[in-house]
């Protein structure tokens, strides 16, 4: 480390920035267009610019982003096969470069891409499977919080119970689909996904549920649609009473069981019984 005295921060002059901006754009534009020629300033071998050398960079960009997509969407990859997935991911990558170097946040729009991607048009469930995998990815990296048990709720007096709001776990992601996508996702967490997939085959059935990560492991739970409707209300800051209004009386009759399921899944991180904003 050198021992120069402290100095002022340097700023590059605008001519220097402009000089490099123009050339960097030529380079990166050629990089993203496989049919384009190698940028003119690249050194030559035997008077020829080496396409193969430049292609190392093209390959690095494409293959690293394809790998990132495969890492985030392993179930989609398993459903279509790795050989089909690679060019499909490449088509996505070509039109969607990451907006930041943090690749764990890359690929959110894959489900929308799949909805428009003609070769998988007949796999109607695929976009929603991708949505579950994105929910898993978000849940996996979400902020930590300690789940609370249902005892906290039963400790409240009846009046407080009426106005209580729930702090849902930061890793909770709700899902609704007209396909059995949570069952598909769960099947692919098993050693033999094909055997588990056979059990799902049959008349198409929609599913509602959630993924949550109480500690380190993300779990997917299938629940009645009413429970997801109810959780949606709670996540919007509604009180327990207000949230219960969105579900039918018959469903409300099972409220105790439903709450027990939700608490057991670890998706409640706190209660806010003394909120004055009601």
């Amino acid at each position: 480390m050198n021992n120069d005295p402290p100095k002022e921060m340097e700023h590059a002059d605008t001519d220097a920035i402009a000089w490099w901006t123009d050339r960097a754009r030529l380079f990166s534009t050629a990089l993203r267009a496989p049919e384009e020629a190698v940028p003119p300033e690249i050194g030559k071998t035997n008077n020829q610019p080496s396409l193969k050398r430049f292609n190392v960079y093209r390959n690095n960009v494409a293959s690293s982003l394809r790998s990132a997509m495969a890492a985030t969407y392993p179930v989609v990859e398993a459903l279509v096969g790795a050989e089909f997935f690679a060019p499909m991911a490449q088509a996505y990558v070509a039109d969607n470069i990451p907006s930041s170097p943090v690749l764990l946040e890359y690929g959110e729009s894959f489900a929308e891409f799949l909805e428009r991607f003609e070769p998988v048009r007949q796999l109607g469930y695929l976009p929603d499977v991708a949505r579950v995998e994105w929910a898993f990815n978000e849940s996996f990296h979400a902020k930590d919080a300690e789940p609370i048990t249902i005892k906290a709720l039963s400790a409240l007096d009846p009046q407080a119970l009426e106005y209580v709001r729930f702090a849902l776990h930061p890793s909770l992601r709700l899902t609704r689909s007209s396909w059995p996508v949570l069952s598909i996702w769960q099947a692919h967490q098993q050693d033999d996904p094909a055997a588990h997939m056979e059990k799902i085959a049959g008349p198409r059935q929609g599913e509602a549920g959630f993924v949550v990560r109480p500690k380190f492991e993300v779990t997917a739970t299938i629940v009645p649609v009413a429970a997801v409707d109810f959780l949606t209300e709670l996540s919007n800051g509604k009180t327990l009473t207000q949230a219960a209004d969105v579900i039918t009386e018959a469903e409300q009759a099972d409220m105790g069981a439903m709450l027990a399921t939700l608490f057991e899944a670890g998706l409640v991180a706190g209660l806010m019984p003394l909120d004055n904003n009601t």
Binding site: E10, I17, W19, W20, L31, Y57, P101, A142
Partner: protein
């Protein structure tokens, strides 16, 4: 430990315990269980901070456990220090949060760039070495060091092309950067071998000409071999296999000139079982031991004796 912003990074440099002059490896989540159970005798671990910029969960749990037992190096791949655009302040701040959270012994980045318009190309792209790019790189390193309030180490790149517009050699360019920013250097010996082979230069001469007094860390890795359109050797910095003998020889030569330096085995693709990685680190440790007489000698001896 809060630092005042108006001090130079150099003044604060001594306040962070540096990496030990021993061998370390890149931490991979696949190896977490065996590391925790075996507590291997390694000098330190390195990670890419971009992989730990999520809010919580398993990655941070694992990194905390590693950090409890070992010194840590944060080796960034996403700052785009060589790019034409201003550094991404949001990304810099996320990086700084990790520095505050894990108190790394070392922070490093690459002499490379990755930005395209509003996007990120996720590779370490090469730049021409000119007065203009030098100004840009210096301003970016100043910016990063001001946010981090510490000096960083800058790594020499593995390159596959050269620019006809370059007016500096890579070594002169790096030396100018060091003189103007006060940063240190991360000497990647495999990158030296890869670049020098690709551009028909003498790797040993590169090492001899390198400003070795500023080297704070050394990297070693495996590379793939191909040929370019003209049939010339084209080596690719793939980090997917063992270090080759020629690179070990170049490393031993480097250490004979610098004395022991913290040395990392990088292995990022086709990740092997942990003992394979550990064995590579032990080999580096034995070379470090051959060239030292300081405090770390006993530990490096212990490592080299376990070399199988």
């Amino acid at each position: 430990m809060p630092h005042s912003r108006n001090k130079s990074p150099i003044e604060n440099a001594g306040k962070t315990t540096p990496l030990p002059a021993r061998a370390g490896v890149g931490f991979k989540p696949e190896h977490f269980d065996i590391i925790v159970s075996d507590q291997p005798d390694l000098g330190w671990f390195e990670v890419h901070p971009e992989n730990y910029m999520g809010a919580g969960g398993l990655p941070h749990h694992q990194l905390n456990r590693i950090r409890e037992r070992y010194p840590l190096s944060l080796h960034g791949v996403g700052l785009s220090i060589g790019g034409p655009r201003d550094l991404d302040t949001h990304h810099l701040n996320r990086f700084k949060k990790l520095i505050d959270r894990y108190s790394p012994a070392s922070i490093s980045e690459h002499l490379a760039w990755s930005t395209h318009d509003d996007g990120h190309l996720n590779d370490l792209l090469p730049l021409p070495y000119t007065r203009e790019t030098l100004d840009v790189v210096v301003a970016h390193i100043d910016h990063a060091q001001a946010i981090f309030n510490r000096p960083i180490l800058l790594e020499n790149p593995a390159t596959y092309v050269v620019f006809e517009t370059s007016t500096y050699s890579e070594i002169d360019f790096l030396s100018e950067i060091v003189a103007r920013t006060g940063c240190g250097l991360l000497l990647d010996v495999n990158n030296v071998y890869v670049s020098c082979t690709n551009h028909k230069r003498d790797a040993a001469a590169y090492i001899e000409a390198f400003p070795l007094q500023h080297v704070g860390e050394i990297h070693l890795a495996g590379h793939a071999e191909d040929h370019d359109d003209a049939g010339e050797r084209l080596l690719i910095d793939s980090h997917d296999r063992r270090v080759i003998e020629e690179v070990w020889a170049l490393y031993a030569k480097t250490i004979s000139l610098t004395g022991p330096k913290p040395t990392l085995i990088e292995w990022d693709e086709d990740i092997p079982e942990f003992p394979v990685l550990l064995n590579e680190a032990r080999r580096a440790g034995s070379i470090l031991f051959d060239h030292q007489d300081g405090d770390d000698s006993r530990q490096n001896l212990a490592m080299s004796e376990q070399l199988s």
